[in-house]
Symmetry: C2
Subunit: 171 residues, 2 copies
């Protein structure tokens, strides 16, 4: 855990298991214009910045055909996040919330997901638009985005975390 | 790698790094009606089956507020998949394709993603609709699905993997 992690009231942590169940490879790095958290946009839709997925040359052949997708799902590793929080209190929120109800980087497996626009592939680099993470963030995976299975334009999140029956409620 | 993995013509594998860069915890298991690959639906939109995310009791507090989301993103670990393939030849396809242009479970980090409908939370169990994986699949993460950042109804995938300029082309 990085020392820049700020502990807040309303948080609940657990003792994590002693060992991991599986391992991941960092397949490359994400190149963005942002080197400090405070500079990152709130989310990927808030910026027009062109970022680069820099894939390790070992995996470059796996980028074949990637250009055929208008949008990609990028999985990356939030290496500076706490992993032991089961409840958190987001800034500007009243009361704590369950980690799995949040997109916070702090979670048992700090795997973040972004849907990005694919602008082009050159060698081992993919130019994309729609990221909000720090420069140098470890890359885990790139997948084609399928509207048929991945798009749910009518999905709703009730931030109070209560009403399943509140159809039509404002987000 | 599981011995039931079938190697096909058109595949290209690499020598993976000797060590992992980070570790993951299995936070629970996915309970589905399918115990053999041949029985799994082609994808999560092809079935009405209600499945269960069985979260380890350690992480149950993290499920607070999850019910407020109509849809969830589920990340899980395809523990029986090959990890060393950079090019693969999907069944019924001609020619090989880059791993990152496919949703195949075989990839350097076998993290799969499904967008599911959230039907309800009881204790450490979340009932969902929209999964297609084997019963007992290790669970990695649960996130709320936000239409604003995660939904791209107009996204297209050109299976030939060529044309960025082919706007309006059939998927």
């Amino acid at each position: 855990m990085d020392e820049d992690i700020e502990r807040r009231p309303g948080e609940e942590s657990v003792a994590l298991p002693e060992g991991y169940d599986a391992g991941v490879y960092f397949i490359g790095r994400v190149r963005t214009p942002w080197s400090r958290r405070a500079d990152c946009p709130k989310n990927g839709t808030q910026t027009e910045a062109v970022c680069t997925l820099e894939v390790d040359p070992l995996y470059a052949p796996a980028l074949q055909n990637v250009e055929g997708a208008s949008h990609l799902i990028v999985l990356y590793w939030m290496h500076r996040a706490a992993r032991d929080l089961v409840r958190q209190q987001p800034r500007h929120a009243s009361g704590s919330r369950g980690t799995f109800s949040l997109r916070s980087p702090a979670r048992p497996n700090p795997i973040a997901l972004a849907v990005v626009e694919c602008l082009g592939v050159e060698g081992n680099r993919v130019r994309v638009c729609g990221l909000d993470c720090l420069d140098g963030t470890p890359l885990l995976d790139i997948k084609p985005y399928y509207a048929s299975t991945d798009s749910r334009p009518g999905a709703r999140v009730d931030r109070a975390g209560t009403a399943k029956g509140a159809a039509g409620a404002a987000p």
